[in-house]
Protein backbone atom coordinates (compact mmCIF):
# COMPACT_ATOMS: atom_id res chain seq x y z
CA UNK A 1 0.00 0.00 0.00
CA UNK A 2 1.40 3.38 -0.97
CA UNK A 3 1.92 6.30 1.37
CA UNK A 4 -1.05 8.24 -0.02
CA UNK A 5 -3.56 5.45 0.55
CA UNK A 6 -2.34 5.09 4.10
CA UNK A 7 -2.87 8.74 4.82
CA UNK A 8 -6.36 8.80 3.28
CA UNK A 9 -7.34 5.80 5.36
CA UNK A 10 -5.94 7.40 8.48
CA UNK A 11 -7.92 10.52 7.78
CA UNK A 12 -11.14 8.55 7.52
CA UNK A 13 -10.38 6.88 10.82
CA UNK A 14 -9.41 9.89 12.90
CA UNK A 15 -11.24 12.76 11.24
CA UNK A 16 -10.81 16.01 13.14
CA UNK A 17 -7.75 14.89 15.03
CA UNK A 18 -5.79 15.25 11.80
CA UNK A 19 -5.59 18.94 11.12
CA UNK A 20 -3.58 19.07 7.93
CA UNK A 21 -2.12 16.75 5.32
CA UNK A 22 0.64 17.46 2.85
CA UNK A 23 1.14 14.83 0.19
CA UNK A 24 3.29 16.97 -2.12
CA UNK A 25 6.17 17.31 0.32
CA UNK A 26 9.35 15.27 -0.22
CA UNK A 27 8.39 13.22 2.82
CA UNK A 28 4.55 13.41 2.97
CA UNK A 29 3.36 14.42 6.42
CA UNK A 30 0.21 14.74 8.45
CA UNK A 31 -0.43 17.21 11.22
CA UNK A 32 -2.04 15.90 14.37
CA UNK A 33 -3.57 17.85 17.23
CA UNK A 34 -1.71 17.32 20.54
CA UNK A 35 -4.78 15.80 22.22
CA UNK A 36 -5.04 13.09 19.56
CA UNK A 37 -1.35 12.20 19.46
CA UNK A 38 -1.40 9.21 21.83
CA UNK A 39 -4.43 7.63 20.18
CA UNK A 40 -3.03 7.98 16.67
CA UNK A 41 0.45 6.78 17.62
CA UNK A 42 -0.89 3.71 19.43
CA UNK A 43 -3.07 2.90 16.44
CA UNK A 44 -0.19 3.38 14.00
CA UNK A 45 2.01 1.06 16.02
CA UNK A 46 -0.52 -1.70 16.70
CA UNK A 47 -2.54 -1.87 13.49
CA UNK A 48 -0.77 -4.47 11.33
CA UNK A 49 -1.63 -2.61 8.16
CA UNK A 50 0.42 0.35 9.37
CA UNK A 51 2.80 -1.38 11.79
CA UNK A 52 4.94 1.66 12.56
CA UNK A 53 6.87 -0.08 15.31
CA UNK A 54 10.00 2.01 14.95
CA UNK A 55 10.36 5.68 15.88
CA UNK A 56 13.33 6.76 13.79
CA UNK A 57 13.63 10.31 14.86
CA UNK A 58 11.91 12.96 16.91
CA UNK A 59 12.92 16.53 16.19
CA UNK A 60 11.83 19.97 17.18
CA UNK A 61 11.81 23.02 14.93
CA UNK A 62 11.39 26.58 16.12
CA UNK A 63 9.58 28.83 13.67
CA UNK A 64 10.45 32.25 14.95
CA UNK A 65 12.30 35.01 13.14
CA UNK A 66 14.08 37.27 15.63
CA UNK A 67 14.94 39.83 12.95
CA UNK A 68 11.84 42.10 12.65
CA UNK A 69 12.63 43.02 9.02
CA UNK A 70 12.76 39.39 7.93
CA UNK A 71 9.85 38.50 10.22
CA UNK A 72 7.57 40.79 8.20
CA UNK A 73 8.23 38.68 5.09
CA UNK A 74 7.61 35.19 6.45
CA UNK A 75 4.32 33.44 5.73
CA UNK A 76 3.87 31.72 9.08
CA UNK A 77 2.96 32.70 12.61
CA UNK A 78 5.67 31.97 15.21
CA UNK A 79 5.26 28.43 16.54
CA UNK A 80 7.09 25.29 17.55
CA UNK A 81 6.87 22.09 15.59
CA UNK A 82 7.50 18.52 16.67
CA UNK A 83 8.31 16.12 13.85
CA UNK A 84 7.96 12.36 14.35
CA UNK A 85 9.62 10.19 11.72
CA UNK A 86 8.12 6.73 11.86
CA UNK A 87 9.26 3.57 10.14
CA UNK A 88 7.65 0.18 9.78
CA UNK A 89 10.13 -2.68 9.80
CA UNK A 90 7.61 -5.18 8.42
CA UNK A 91 6.15 -2.99 5.66
CA UNK A 92 9.26 -0.91 4.96
CA UNK A 93 7.26 2.31 4.82
CA UNK A 94 7.77 5.63 6.50
CA UNK A 95 5.40 8.26 7.78
CA UNK A 96 5.92 11.75 9.17
CA UNK A 97 3.70 13.13 11.92
CA UNK A 98 3.76 16.75 12.97
CA UNK A 99 2.45 18.46 16.04
CA UNK A 100 2.25 22.24 16.13
CA UNK A 101 2.58 23.98 19.48
CA UNK A 102 2.61 27.60 20.60
CA UNK A 103 6.06 28.91 21.55
CA UNK A 104 4.82 29.58 25.09
CA UNK A 105 1.80 28.08 26.79
CA UNK A 106 -1.14 30.50 26.54
CA UNK A 107 1.28 33.15 25.32
CA UNK A 108 2.85 33.60 28.77
CA UNK A 109 6.63 33.82 28.39
CA UNK A 110 8.52 31.07 30.28
CA UNK A 111 5.43 28.89 30.55
CA UNK A 112 6.49 25.82 28.59
CA UNK A 113 4.08 24.38 26.01
CA UNK A 114 2.91 20.86 26.72
CA UNK A 115 2.38 17.77 24.63
CA UNK A 116 1.69 14.18 25.71
CA UNK A 117 4.73 11.94 25.84
CA UNK A 118 4.97 8.95 23.50
CA UNK A 119 7.65 7.27 25.62
CA UNK A 120 5.08 4.66 26.61
CA UNK A 121 4.59 3.72 22.96
CA UNK A 122 8.19 3.76 21.75
CA UNK A 123 10.82 3.55 24.50
CA UNK A 124 13.31 5.41 22.34
CA UNK A 125 11.15 8.53 22.69
CA UNK A 126 12.30 8.76 26.32
CA UNK A 127 15.72 10.22 25.47
CA UNK A 128 14.54 12.06 22.36
CA UNK A 129 11.92 13.89 24.39
CA UNK A 130 14.46 14.74 27.06
CA UNK A 131 16.66 16.20 24.36
CA UNK A 132 13.82 18.33 23.00
CA UNK A 133 12.87 19.47 26.50
CA UNK A 134 16.49 20.41 27.02
CA UNK A 135 17.05 22.27 23.76
CA UNK A 136 13.57 23.60 22.90
CA UNK A 137 11.72 23.85 26.18
CA UNK A 138 8.73 21.66 25.42
CA UNK A 139 7.21 19.82 28.35
CA UNK A 140 6.16 16.22 27.71
CA UNK A 141 3.37 15.31 30.09
CA UNK A 142 3.55 11.75 31.32
CA UNK A 143 7.26 11.39 30.60
CA UNK A 144 8.92 9.06 33.15
CA UNK A 145 11.96 11.21 33.89
CA UNK A 146 11.92 14.60 32.20
CA UNK A 147 15.21 16.39 32.83
CA UNK A 148 17.95 17.92 30.72
CA UNK A 149 20.15 15.44 28.88
CA UNK A 150 22.84 17.25 26.88
CA UNK A 151 23.15 20.52 28.83
CA UNK A 152 23.97 20.60 32.55
CA UNK A 153 20.93 20.38 34.83
CA UNK A 154 21.28 24.00 36.02
CA UNK A 155 21.58 25.46 32.52
CA UNK A 156 19.32 28.43 31.81
CA UNK A 157 17.36 28.78 28.58
CA UNK A 158 16.62 26.56 25.60
CA UNK A 159 19.55 26.73 23.17
CA UNK A 160 17.88 25.71 19.91
CA UNK A 161 15.18 28.35 20.13
CA UNK A 162 15.85 31.06 17.62
CA UNK A 163 15.77 33.89 20.18
CA UNK A 164 18.16 32.14 22.58
CA UNK A 165 21.05 34.14 23.89
CA UNK A 166 24.10 32.47 25.33
CA UNK A 167 24.50 33.35 29.03
CA UNK A 168 27.40 35.68 29.81
CA UNK A 169 28.86 33.28 32.34
CA UNK A 170 28.26 29.85 33.77
CA UNK A 171 29.73 29.09 37.21
CA UNK A 172 32.47 31.63 36.69
CA UNK A 173 33.29 30.41 33.16
CA UNK A 174 32.99 33.14 30.54
CA UNK A 175 30.68 32.04 27.76
CA UNK A 176 30.80 34.94 25.34
Amino acid sequence: MGGQDLITQLKDHFGDQIRDVNLEAIDPWIEVIPEGLIGICTFLRDDPQFGFDFLSCLSGVDYFQPDPKKAAKVDWEPHLELVYHLWSIANKTSLVLKVILPRWKDGVVDELPEVPSVAGIWRTADWHEREIYDLFGIRFSGHPDLRRILCPEDWVGYPLRKDYEMPVEYHGIRCR
Binding site: I26, C57, S59, V61, W127
Partner: protein, 400 residues
Protein backbone atom coordinates in the same frame (compact mmCIF):
# COMPACT_ATOMS: atom_id res chain seq x y z
CA UNK B 1 23.14 -6.35 73.84
CA UNK B 2 21.98 -9.46 72.16
CA UNK B 3 24.21 -12.44 72.15
CA UNK B 4 24.76 -14.59 69.17
CA UNK B 5 24.57 -18.22 69.97
CA UNK B 6 26.31 -19.56 66.92
CA UNK B 7 29.45 -17.72 65.88
CA UNK B 8 29.13 -19.26 62.42
CA UNK B 9 26.17 -17.00 61.66
CA UNK B 10 28.27 -13.91 62.24
CA UNK B 11 30.98 -15.24 59.99
CA UNK B 12 28.69 -15.91 57.06
CA UNK B 13 26.42 -12.95 57.45
CA UNK B 14 28.70 -10.30 55.94
CA UNK B 15 26.43 -7.45 55.01
CA UNK B 16 27.05 -5.10 52.14
CA UNK B 17 25.63 -1.61 52.01
CA UNK B 18 24.04 -0.04 49.01
CA UNK B 19 26.55 2.25 47.40
CA UNK B 20 26.58 4.73 44.55
CA UNK B 21 29.61 4.28 42.31
CA UNK B 22 30.57 6.81 39.71
CA UNK B 23 31.98 5.23 36.56
CA UNK B 24 33.51 7.77 34.22
CA UNK B 25 33.57 10.26 32.62
CA UNK B 26 37.26 9.41 32.39
CA UNK B 27 36.95 5.67 32.34
CA UNK B 28 38.66 3.84 29.49
CA UNK B 29 35.82 1.44 28.86
CA UNK B 30 33.19 4.12 28.51
CA UNK B 31 34.58 4.96 25.04
CA UNK B 32 34.92 8.66 25.44
CA UNK B 33 33.31 10.73 28.10
CA UNK B 34 30.29 8.82 29.30
CA UNK B 35 29.47 8.92 32.99
CA UNK B 36 27.53 6.07 34.54
CA UNK B 37 26.19 6.25 38.06
CA UNK B 38 25.82 2.73 39.39
CA UNK B 39 23.74 1.80 42.40
CA UNK B 40 25.46 -1.27 43.71
CA UNK B 41 25.04 -3.78 46.44
CA UNK B 42 28.36 -5.55 46.64
CA UNK B 43 29.11 -6.71 43.13
CA UNK B 44 25.52 -6.54 41.91
CA UNK B 45 24.38 -3.43 40.09
CA UNK B 46 20.73 -2.61 40.69
CA UNK B 47 20.47 0.57 38.66
CA UNK B 48 22.53 2.37 36.03
CA UNK B 49 21.98 6.01 35.14
CA UNK B 50 23.95 7.30 32.16
CA UNK B 51 24.85 11.00 32.10
CA UNK B 52 25.72 12.49 28.73
CA UNK B 53 26.64 15.83 27.32
CA UNK B 54 30.34 16.10 28.16
CA UNK B 55 31.12 16.39 24.46
CA UNK B 56 28.17 18.57 23.46
CA UNK B 57 29.45 21.03 20.87
CA UNK B 58 26.19 22.61 19.71
CA UNK B 59 26.63 21.13 16.23
CA UNK B 60 22.95 21.58 15.34
CA UNK B 61 22.97 25.25 16.33
CA UNK B 62 26.12 25.77 14.26
CA UNK B 63 24.35 24.11 11.35
CA UNK B 64 21.70 26.84 11.41
CA UNK B 65 24.41 29.37 10.61
CA UNK B 66 26.32 27.60 7.84
CA UNK B 67 25.54 26.34 4.37
CA UNK B 68 25.34 22.54 3.93
CA UNK B 69 28.78 22.25 2.42
CA UNK B 70 30.25 24.36 5.19
CA UNK B 71 28.58 22.13 7.77
CA UNK B 72 29.94 18.96 6.23
CA UNK B 73 33.20 19.14 8.29
CA UNK B 74 31.10 19.26 11.45
CA UNK B 75 29.42 15.98 10.59
CA UNK B 76 32.65 13.99 10.48
CA UNK B 77 33.57 15.37 13.88
CA UNK B 78 30.44 13.76 15.30
CA UNK B 79 31.32 10.14 14.67
CA UNK B 80 35.04 10.64 14.30
CA UNK B 81 35.62 6.92 13.75
CA UNK B 82 33.43 6.88 10.66
CA UNK B 83 33.77 10.38 9.23
CA UNK B 84 33.19 9.29 5.65
CA UNK B 85 29.86 7.67 6.49
CA UNK B 86 28.73 10.83 8.25
CA UNK B 87 29.72 13.01 5.28
CA UNK B 88 27.85 10.63 3.01
CA UNK B 89 24.69 10.70 5.13
CA UNK B 90 24.60 14.47 5.22
CA UNK B 91 25.37 14.84 1.51
CA UNK B 92 22.64 12.39 0.52
CA UNK B 93 20.12 14.17 2.73
CA UNK B 94 20.85 17.57 1.18
CA UNK B 95 20.83 16.01 -2.29
CA UNK B 96 17.40 14.57 -1.51
CA UNK B 97 16.18 18.04 -0.64
CA UNK B 98 17.70 19.50 -3.81
CA UNK B 99 16.68 16.49 -5.93
CA UNK B 100 20.23 16.25 -7.14
CA UNK B 101 21.46 12.97 -8.62
CA UNK B 102 25.16 12.22 -8.62
CA UNK B 103 26.94 10.63 -11.55
CA UNK B 104 27.34 6.88 -11.91
CA UNK B 105 31.04 7.11 -11.19
CA UNK B 106 30.49 9.14 -8.03
CA UNK B 107 27.97 6.56 -6.85
CA UNK B 108 30.50 3.71 -7.03
CA UNK B 109 33.23 5.90 -5.56
CA UNK B 110 30.97 6.49 -2.59
CA UNK B 111 30.36 2.77 -2.13
CA UNK B 112 34.11 2.09 -2.13
CA UNK B 113 34.73 4.80 0.44
CA UNK B 114 31.74 3.97 2.63
CA UNK B 115 32.58 0.27 2.81
CA UNK B 116 36.26 0.90 3.47
CA UNK B 117 35.14 3.16 6.28
CA UNK B 118 32.93 0.39 7.62
CA UNK B 119 35.95 -1.92 7.78
CA UNK B 120 38.02 0.71 9.58
CA UNK B 121 35.26 1.50 12.03
CA UNK B 122 34.48 -2.13 12.85
CA UNK B 123 38.18 -2.79 13.34
CA UNK B 124 38.23 -0.17 16.08
CA UNK B 125 35.03 -1.60 17.52
CA UNK B 126 36.54 -5.05 17.59
CA UNK B 127 39.96 -4.05 18.92
CA UNK B 128 38.61 -1.81 21.63
CA UNK B 129 36.12 -4.44 22.71
CA UNK B 130 38.99 -6.83 23.28
CA UNK B 131 40.67 -4.10 25.31
CA UNK B 132 37.53 -3.66 27.41
CA UNK B 133 37.60 -7.33 28.26
CA UNK B 134 41.26 -7.26 29.20
CA UNK B 135 42.93 -8.57 26.08
CA UNK B 136 45.40 -6.07 24.71
CA UNK B 137 46.90 -7.64 21.60
CA UNK B 138 43.85 -7.77 19.29
CA UNK B 139 43.70 -4.00 19.65
CA UNK B 140 47.18 -3.66 18.19
CA UNK B 141 46.42 -6.05 15.32
CA UNK B 142 43.23 -4.14 14.56
CA UNK B 143 44.96 -0.79 14.55
CA UNK B 144 47.72 -2.12 12.32
CA UNK B 145 45.19 -2.85 9.56
CA UNK B 146 43.13 0.26 10.22
CA UNK B 147 46.27 2.33 9.81
CA UNK B 148 46.55 1.09 6.23
CA UNK B 149 42.98 2.19 5.48
CA UNK B 150 43.68 5.58 7.02
CA UNK B 151 46.78 5.85 4.81
CA UNK B 152 44.60 5.15 1.78
CA UNK B 153 42.09 7.77 2.89
CA UNK B 154 44.90 10.23 3.51
CA UNK B 155 46.05 9.75 -0.06
CA UNK B 156 42.54 10.45 -1.30
CA UNK B 157 41.78 13.62 0.64
CA UNK B 158 44.71 14.57 2.85
CA UNK B 159 43.03 13.87 6.16
CA UNK B 160 43.17 10.82 8.39
CA UNK B 161 40.06 11.17 10.54
CA UNK B 162 38.02 14.24 9.61
CA UNK B 163 37.77 13.91 5.88
CA UNK B 164 35.04 16.16 4.47
CA UNK B 165 35.68 14.21 1.28
CA UNK B 166 32.22 13.13 0.18
CA UNK B 167 30.18 16.25 -0.25
CA UNK B 168 26.94 17.54 -1.74
CA UNK B 169 27.08 16.70 -5.44
CA UNK B 170 29.72 13.98 -5.35
CA UNK B 171 33.22 14.03 -3.93
CA UNK B 172 35.77 16.81 -3.69
CA UNK B 173 38.26 14.93 -5.91
CA UNK B 174 38.69 11.74 -7.86
CA UNK B 175 40.98 8.94 -6.66
CA UNK B 176 44.67 9.64 -7.33
CA UNK B 177 46.33 7.48 -10.03
CA UNK B 178 47.17 3.98 -8.84
CA UNK B 179 44.94 4.22 -5.77
CA UNK B 180 42.56 1.46 -6.81
CA UNK B 181 45.47 -0.98 -7.21
CA UNK B 182 46.70 -0.10 -3.74
CA UNK B 183 43.21 -0.60 -2.39
CA UNK B 184 42.97 -3.99 -4.06
CA UNK B 185 46.30 -5.15 -2.74
CA UNK B 186 45.24 -4.07 0.73
CA UNK B 187 42.06 -6.14 0.49
CA UNK B 188 44.01 -9.15 -0.73
CA UNK B 189 46.38 -8.90 2.20
CA UNK B 190 43.56 -8.14 4.65
CA UNK B 191 41.35 -11.14 3.89
CA UNK B 192 43.48 -13.78 5.67
CA UNK B 193 43.96 -11.41 8.61
CA UNK B 194 40.24 -11.64 9.41
CA UNK B 195 40.74 -15.31 10.26
CA UNK B 196 43.41 -14.28 12.75
CA UNK B 197 40.90 -12.01 14.45
CA UNK B 198 38.46 -14.86 14.71
CA UNK B 199 41.17 -16.98 16.28
CA UNK B 200 42.16 -14.18 18.68
CA UNK B 201 38.69 -13.19 19.87
CA UNK B 202 35.63 -14.79 18.30
CA UNK B 203 36.55 -18.36 19.24
CA UNK B 204 38.66 -17.50 22.28
CA UNK B 205 37.31 -19.41 25.29
CA UNK B 206 37.91 -16.53 27.72
CA UNK B 207 36.31 -14.05 25.35
CA UNK B 208 33.24 -16.26 24.94
CA UNK B 209 32.99 -16.66 28.72
CA UNK B 210 33.10 -12.90 29.17
CA UNK B 211 30.51 -11.87 26.63
CA UNK B 212 28.26 -14.81 25.63
CA UNK B 213 24.87 -14.73 27.29
CA UNK B 214 25.50 -11.25 28.73
CA UNK B 215 23.48 -8.15 27.95
CA UNK B 216 20.73 -9.89 26.01
CA UNK B 217 18.56 -7.47 24.05
CA UNK B 218 15.36 -9.09 22.90
CA UNK B 219 13.98 -8.38 19.46
CA UNK B 220 11.07 -6.32 20.82
CA UNK B 221 13.32 -4.37 23.16
CA UNK B 222 15.74 -3.53 20.34
CA UNK B 223 12.93 -2.22 18.15
CA UNK B 224 11.21 -0.27 20.91
CA UNK B 225 14.44 1.41 21.95
CA UNK B 226 15.24 2.30 18.37
CA UNK B 227 18.46 0.29 18.32
CA UNK B 228 19.98 0.05 14.87
CA UNK B 229 22.90 -1.39 12.99
CA UNK B 230 24.78 -4.38 14.42
CA UNK B 231 22.90 -3.98 17.73
CA UNK B 232 19.56 -4.50 15.99
CA UNK B 233 20.80 -7.27 13.70
CA UNK B 234 22.55 -8.95 16.62
CA UNK B 235 19.08 -9.32 18.11
CA UNK B 236 17.87 -11.11 15.01
CA UNK B 237 15.94 -8.31 13.33
CA UNK B 238 16.37 -8.53 9.58
CA UNK B 239 16.89 -4.90 8.67
CA UNK B 240 19.68 -3.19 6.82
CA UNK B 241 19.02 0.17 5.22
CA UNK B 242 21.32 -0.67 2.35
CA UNK B 243 18.61 -3.10 1.27
CA UNK B 244 15.46 -1.87 3.06
CA UNK B 245 15.99 1.87 3.28
CA UNK B 246 14.54 4.68 1.26
CA UNK B 247 15.02 4.52 -2.45
CA UNK B 248 17.14 7.62 -2.38
CA UNK B 249 19.72 5.66 -0.40
CA UNK B 250 19.25 2.10 -1.69
CA UNK B 251 19.81 3.34 -5.26
CA UNK B 252 23.42 3.76 -4.28
CA UNK B 253 23.68 -0.03 -3.79
CA UNK B 254 21.69 -0.84 -6.91
CA UNK B 255 23.22 -3.85 -8.66
CA UNK B 256 25.35 -4.94 -5.71
CA UNK B 257 25.03 -8.47 -4.42
CA UNK B 258 25.08 -8.81 -0.65
CA UNK B 259 23.14 -10.51 2.08
CA UNK B 260 22.03 -8.87 5.28
CA UNK B 261 24.08 -10.24 8.17
CA UNK B 262 21.45 -11.56 10.53
CA UNK B 263 20.74 -14.89 12.12
CA UNK B 264 17.94 -16.77 10.36
CA UNK B 265 16.84 -20.19 11.64
CA UNK B 266 19.98 -20.44 13.69
CA UNK B 267 22.34 -19.69 10.81
CA UNK B 268 24.19 -16.64 9.62
CA UNK B 269 24.56 -16.24 5.87
CA UNK B 270 27.79 -17.81 4.57
CA UNK B 271 28.48 -19.13 8.01
CA UNK B 272 30.34 -22.17 6.65
CA UNK B 273 33.46 -20.05 6.30
CA UNK B 274 33.23 -18.73 9.84
CA UNK B 275 33.65 -20.17 13.28
CA UNK B 276 30.40 -21.64 14.50
CA UNK B 277 28.24 -19.88 17.07
CA UNK B 278 29.26 -21.24 20.49
CA UNK B 279 26.52 -23.02 22.45
CA UNK B 280 26.78 -20.46 25.29
CA UNK B 281 25.75 -17.58 23.06
CA UNK B 282 22.12 -16.44 23.10
CA UNK B 283 20.70 -14.42 20.23
CA UNK B 284 20.88 -10.73 21.16
CA UNK B 285 23.80 -10.99 23.58
CA UNK B 286 27.12 -9.17 23.47
CA UNK B 287 28.80 -11.97 21.58
CA UNK B 288 26.26 -11.83 18.71
CA UNK B 289 26.67 -8.08 18.32
CA UNK B 290 30.41 -8.59 18.06
CA UNK B 291 29.97 -11.43 15.59
CA UNK B 292 27.68 -9.41 13.33
CA UNK B 293 30.35 -6.72 13.14
CA UNK B 294 33.01 -9.27 12.24
CA UNK B 295 30.87 -10.73 9.46
CA UNK B 296 30.14 -7.26 8.15
CA UNK B 297 33.86 -6.66 7.79
CA UNK B 298 34.07 -9.66 5.48
CA UNK B 299 31.00 -8.51 3.60
CA UNK B 300 32.44 -5.02 3.16
CA UNK B 301 35.53 -6.52 1.50
CA UNK B 302 33.27 -8.16 -1.09
CA UNK B 303 31.35 -4.95 -1.63
CA UNK B 304 34.53 -2.94 -2.19
CA UNK B 305 35.65 -5.47 -4.81
CA UNK B 306 32.31 -5.16 -6.61
CA UNK B 307 32.42 -1.38 -6.37
CA UNK B 308 35.93 -1.20 -7.80
CA UNK B 309 34.81 -3.19 -10.84
CA UNK B 310 31.79 -0.93 -11.34
CA UNK B 311 33.87 2.18 -10.83
CA UNK B 312 36.34 1.11 -13.51
CA UNK B 313 33.50 0.57 -16.00
CA UNK B 314 31.70 3.81 -15.17
CA UNK B 315 32.28 6.87 -17.26
CA UNK B 316 32.16 10.54 -16.57
CA UNK B 317 33.39 12.61 -13.67
CA UNK B 318 33.11 11.99 -9.97
CA UNK B 319 30.49 14.63 -9.73
CA UNK B 320 31.04 18.28 -9.30
CA UNK B 321 30.26 19.56 -5.82
CA UNK B 322 27.66 22.30 -5.69
CA UNK B 323 28.69 25.87 -4.99
CA UNK B 324 29.27 26.57 -1.31
CA UNK B 325 26.59 29.27 -1.36
CA UNK B 326 24.13 27.27 -3.48
CA UNK B 327 20.53 28.13 -2.55
CA UNK B 328 18.40 25.32 -1.18
CA UNK B 329 14.83 24.77 -2.33
CA UNK B 330 12.15 25.46 0.24
CA UNK B 331 11.06 22.32 2.04
CA UNK B 332 12.32 19.64 4.32
CA UNK B 333 13.93 16.24 3.92
CA UNK B 334 14.87 13.39 6.21
CA UNK B 335 17.16 10.58 5.23
CA UNK B 336 18.72 7.71 7.13
CA UNK B 337 21.78 5.83 5.99
CA UNK B 338 23.41 2.68 7.26
CA UNK B 339 26.53 3.94 8.99
CA UNK B 340 28.84 1.41 10.68
CA UNK B 341 27.28 2.04 14.10
CA UNK B 342 23.68 2.04 12.96
CA UNK B 343 21.20 4.20 11.16
CA UNK B 344 22.44 7.73 10.95
CA UNK B 345 19.67 10.13 10.07
CA UNK B 346 19.84 13.73 9.00
CA UNK B 347 16.92 16.10 8.90
CA UNK B 348 17.15 19.41 7.09
CA UNK B 349 14.55 22.16 6.94
CA UNK B 350 15.05 24.98 4.47
CA UNK B 351 13.26 28.29 4.06
CA UNK B 352 14.67 28.83 0.58
CA UNK B 353 17.96 30.50 1.45
CA UNK B 354 21.44 29.01 1.25
CA UNK B 355 21.56 28.40 5.00
CA UNK B 356 19.18 25.75 6.36
CA UNK B 357 16.57 26.82 8.88
CA UNK B 358 17.19 23.76 10.99
CA UNK B 359 19.43 20.73 10.82
CA UNK B 360 19.14 17.71 13.03
CA UNK B 361 21.31 14.65 13.33
CA UNK B 362 19.58 11.48 14.48
CA UNK B 363 22.42 9.69 16.17
CA UNK B 364 22.54 5.92 16.03
CA UNK B 365 24.62 5.58 19.21
CA UNK B 366 22.23 7.87 21.10
CA UNK B 367 19.44 5.34 20.65
CA UNK B 368 21.73 2.34 21.08
CA UNK B 369 23.00 3.72 24.38
CA UNK B 370 19.53 4.47 25.73
CA UNK B 371 19.06 0.73 26.22
CA UNK B 372 21.80 0.54 28.91
CA UNK B 373 19.64 1.34 31.94
CA UNK B 374 17.44 -1.63 31.17
CA UNK B 375 20.29 -3.85 30.06
CA UNK B 376 22.60 -3.36 33.04
CA UNK B 377 20.01 -3.90 35.74
CA UNK B 378 21.01 -6.74 38.09
CA UNK B 379 24.30 -7.52 36.42
CA UNK B 380 27.78 -7.65 37.89
CA UNK B 381 30.00 -4.57 37.84
CA UNK B 382 32.56 -6.47 35.77
CA UNK B 383 29.95 -7.15 33.09
CA UNK B 384 29.18 -3.48 32.54
CA UNK B 385 32.24 -2.82 30.33
CA UNK B 386 31.38 -6.01 28.43
CA UNK B 387 27.86 -4.73 27.76
CA UNK B 388 28.64 -1.08 27.01
CA UNK B 389 31.59 -2.09 24.83
CA UNK B 390 29.44 -4.38 22.75
CA UNK B 391 27.19 -1.44 21.82
CA UNK B 392 30.25 0.19 20.19
CA UNK B 393 29.38 3.78 20.98
CA UNK B 394 31.15 7.00 20.05
CA UNK B 395 30.36 9.82 22.43
CA UNK B 396 31.03 12.55 19.87
CA UNK B 397 28.02 11.34 17.94
CA UNK B 398 25.79 10.99 20.98
CA UNK B 399 26.45 14.46 22.37
CA UNK B 400 26.83 16.19 18.99
Amino acid sequence: MSTVEKTQIVEFDVRTDEMLVNMGPQHPSTHGVLRLVLRTDGEIVSEVTPHLGYLHRCAEKIGENLTPRQWSPYTDRMDYLAGMSMNLGWSLCVEKLMNLHVTEKARHLRVIIAEMQRIASHLVGMGVYGLDLGSFSPFLYAFREREKILDLFEEVCGARLTYSYLTVGGATADFPPGWLEKCESFLEQFLPVIDEYHALLTTNAIFIKRCAGIGVISREMAISYGCTGPVLRGSGVDMDLRRDGEEWYTNMYDGYAFEVIVEKDGHYPNDHTYPAVPPEAILGDSWHRFYVRMLEVRQAVDLVHQAIDCYRKAEGSCGDPVKITEKLPKGEAYLETEAPRGQMGFYVVSDGSAIPWRVKARSSCFCNLSVTSDLCRNTLIADIPAIIGSLDIVMGEIDR
